[in-house]
Amino acid sequence: MILTDEEKAYRDGQYGEAKRLAMELLIGVGDSFGAQRLIPVSSVHILGHYGSLHQAGIDFLERLVSGGGQCEVPTTVDPSSIDYDRWEQFKVPREYMEQQRRLQVAVEKLGVIPSWSCTPYHSLNVPRFGQNVAWAESSAIVYANSVIGARTNRTPFGLDISAALTGRIAETGLYLDENRRGTLLYDIQINDLDDLDYPTLGAIVGSRSGSKIPVIKGLPLTVTNDQLKCFGAGAASAGAVALYHALGITPEAKYEDPFGGKEPEQVHVITRAELDEMEAQITTATPDQKIDMVTMGCPLLSIEEMKAIYHKMKNRRVKQGMHFWIYLTQETYDLGKRLGIIEPLESSGVWFSTRTCATISPVKTWGFSHVMTNSAKCALVVPSEHNVKITYADTDACIRTATEEQ
């Protein structure tokens, strides 16, 4: 890899030990996939949950702190493994909390914006079209690449904070024009897509695409950013989709041909029948199994999604013995408080949680055996962490299951 004089200065330790370590990792990984050079990135989004980072993650971040590291570009952080305010309510073991706190301290000392959100593109970290960024968090990566048209690979833990400390990443993969072209066409022949259909469509596209880039035809022009968020999260968790194009909607498929003038390698028509089949397949529980917990907010809820839940919840309260947990960003929670839509739900028995989510927190201490959710990502990821059965259903069904008229 050809390095600039400044990059060599990082490597040789002229900017301190933390940046030397970060640059050594960036160069090593860049060389491993044959990158020609490093490129500047305008923002970074890092991982920060103890449940996956383990002691090794703490070790690396603390090493960077003791080496004097500071972020050079705006950097946000993914949700934590605990709710920092309500960890006792959620029965998080104290030792686990303390480990996450160590991570938190290290992350904040490095100058990371303490967003603890998987939707940094809603606020605090909003790239422009065409900008190179280095993001971790699969659902945010797919949103940045697809909906915004910014550019990022699937940046793994370790490389993420190294990019933040140096403002650099190796130029490979989705940073290059030629690797952003779609090759698979999905033709959606369904007229009345509802909210649950988007994550389900995502799961179909993700599970069929492998490492190829899907192009989606047939999404309505009225599709909301929240719906695209849930579609992308489904696609990224059911497969490894880091970029999709939606014809007429996402920027690289609105102003240019996402196939680059070529014919798609494959065309797949998606009908209502396939959607129903995938929806049923995501559910692993049988209807007779009692549901212990209903959860929403993976990815974390936006204020618009929160408002919709509030209106559906009027005059209802959480059933005795049932847990109804809603995960949202701190910003959504604060906005919801100002709108007066948080307290009524809290007094009707809903547990809100901020800056974390069910998918990455130690929910297993509760011993739930059957969880219901409207999130495809949560449904696909949670069983591997918590050994629970899942029922996947829309928001109305989740609310009907968790609550009753009062």
């Binding site: 370590l21 050594e24 990792l25 090593g28 990984v29 060389d31 491993s32 996939f33 991982l47 949950h49 996956s52 980072l53 383990h54 002691q55 090794a56 993650g57 070790d59 690396f60 090493r63 971790a136 968090e137 699969s138 990566i141 690979n153 699937r154 940046t155 793994p156 833990f157 370790g158 490389l159 993420d160 490894a240 591997s384 962490e385």
Partner: protein
């Protein structure tokens, strides 16, 4: 048992190690895929489910799964439960990041070799003794 032979490839991380081969023909993941406490493969979709990677020469086409995989792998390395060497068809950043950090943080040199001149997934068999040299990029099937 495979025939004794030496295969040339590309050394990605330095060091040399000899161990018993475990081979996954499918892409392999560490996030919720390998338990760092003991090196057991826990990914229910992996053909290596129930095997253990500690001290082995771990062979798979490429990494897959969550971007947290590098932390899961690094934690296994930290606890001394990682493989002694890795061979990929084509490596990717999750695997490379974990192995480079293993050396930088814990001084554990786990060689990684990829882009071999023969199809390692069919040449190497479970139980073969293999030496992996990350400095020269050579993989030797010893017995």
């Amino acid at each position: 048992m495979s025939e004794k032979r030496t295969i040339r490839g590309r050394g990605v991380t330095p060091g040399s190690a000899t161990g018993e081969a475990v081979v996954s023909e499918a892409a392999f993941m560490f996030a919720h895929g390998v338990e760092p406490k003991n090196g057991d493969v826990i990914d229910i979709r992996s053909p290596l489910l129930g095997e253990n990677v500690k001290g082995k020469v771990l062979i798979f086409p490429f990494g897959k799964g969550s971007t947290t995989g590098s932390a899961w792998f690094l934690e296994a390395i930290r606890q001394g439960n990682g493989p002694c060497a890795v061979i990929n068809v084509e490596t990717e950043p999750i695997i490379a990041t974990a192995l480079i950090l293993g050396r930088l943080l814990y001084d554990r040199r786990i060689p990684l070799v990829d882009r071999l001149e023969a199809d390692i997934l069919t040449v190497a068999r479970k139980g073969d003794t293999i030496t992996v040299n990350g400095d020269t990029g050579e993989v030797a099937i010893v017995s």
